[in-house]
Amino acid sequence: MSRRPYIRKVERSWWLGRRRYVMYMIRELTSLFVGLYCALLVVGLWRLGQGRAAWDGFLAVLSSPLGVLFQLLCLAFAVYHSVTWFALTPKAMPLAVRGEPIPAKAIVGMHYGAWAVVSLIVLIAAGI
């Protein structure tokens, strides 16, 4: 008897309907907003190079309702990305001291600590 293996196609909607895959796709989507925000910073630098009026115009766009909404959206996605990434770090870099594994919570905690320190440096540098 001849074999006739049947191959089932993966549907485009494979990620819908299971929480695990939806959360993963949202994490993938965050890269779009992180990328857009980087582009925004580059545009800011470009406008700054064009002089005072251009820079003020850029700031005005940022503080418009749409500008604020966009930044809040980027912030939300960046936070989601960071939090989910920090949660995964113990898998990617398990650390051990003298053969004793460091608990996962400590590794995650160190990342939050580093995040706080870097944020503080940025705030101080910005003169806030």
């Binding site: 074999r3 494979w14 993963y24 898998k91 990617a92 398990p94 053969g99």
Partner: protein, 247 residues
């Protein structure tokens, strides 16, 4: 009062079916039955044409992996009592061709597994008379969890990258490659790198993490792959940046 439970099973018999279709079976409900007991009941008392793989009935052999209500599970490890609703849907493992009913074709996995050389490759052969290769508990701990893999392929069914790109080496094979790379008796890392560190190897993984979540033996293939990404990246830089390095 006897209770019943309904199993909705994806059938595919290549000699009569052009494509798979669901068939429902109503069987007695027993508190201590797993899905595999239900399938065995059908095979023995209802429909002898139903095909599926199984052997040990105790989550050791890794034969009875299937999709149970859309989730990859060992049928011997999934109690009917945990699915107390009308119908339990049972399908063959996702991302593998269906040979017949719940039996899949796993040739691609066997090829991928052998491509990562999952055995100790020692640079210097030791004579039997020189005694055993000793390992400290610490050296054993480095890789022990990865030795628990039973090749049940639930991780391949859970991984969307395996479904979207059939050339992806996949979680179990990469975790086993990592297992041997971490073994203090092994010198085969370089030989495995061609496959492991290729585009179809670790770099096809986008860290969905589902492989580790569904593993019935609590192996963590996602961790193995991320750790291999870091070590492969370091090797890549070392080979190019260090003075006298060989490219």
């Amino acid at each position: 009062m006897s209770e019943n439970v309904t199993l909705e099973i994806l059938r595919y018999r290549p000699e009569v079916d052009s494509e798979p279709h669901f068939q429902t079976y109503t069987i007695p409900y027993e508190e201590d039955w797993v899905v595999l007991d239900g399938l065995n009941h059908i095979k023995d008392h209802v429909d002898a044409t139903l095909s599926y793989r199984w052997s040990c009935h105790m989550a050791i052999c890794g034969s009875c992996g299937m999709m149970i209500d859309g989730e990859p599970k060992l049928a011997c490890h999934a109690f009917l009592r945990d699915y107390r609703h009308d119908v339990i849907r049972i399908e063959p493992l996702d991302h593998f061709p269906i040979e017949r009913d719940l039996v899949t074709v796993m040739d691609s996995f066997i090829e991928k597994l052998s491509s990562v050389k999952p055995y100790v490759i020692a640079k210097h052969k030791k004579a039997l008379s020189d005694g055993e290769n000793l390992q400290t508990p610490l050296q054993l701990m480095a890789f022990k969890q990865y030795t628990l893999c039973i090749n049940c392929l639930l991780c391949y069914a859970a991984c969307p990258q395996c479904g979207l790109n059939e050339s992806f080496v996949g979680p179990a094979a990469l975790a086993l490659a990592h297992r041997y790379n971490l073994d203090s008796r092994d010198d085969g890392k370089e030989q495995r790198a061609d496959v492991v560190a290729s585009n179809e190897g670790i770099w096809e993984c986008t860290f969905v993490g589902a492989c580790s979540e569904v593993c019935p033996k609590h192996v963590d293939p996602a961790a193995a792959i991320q750790q291999t990404k870091i070590s492969a990246s370091l090797d890549w830089f070392k080979a190019r940046l260090l003075p006298g390095a060989r490219r």
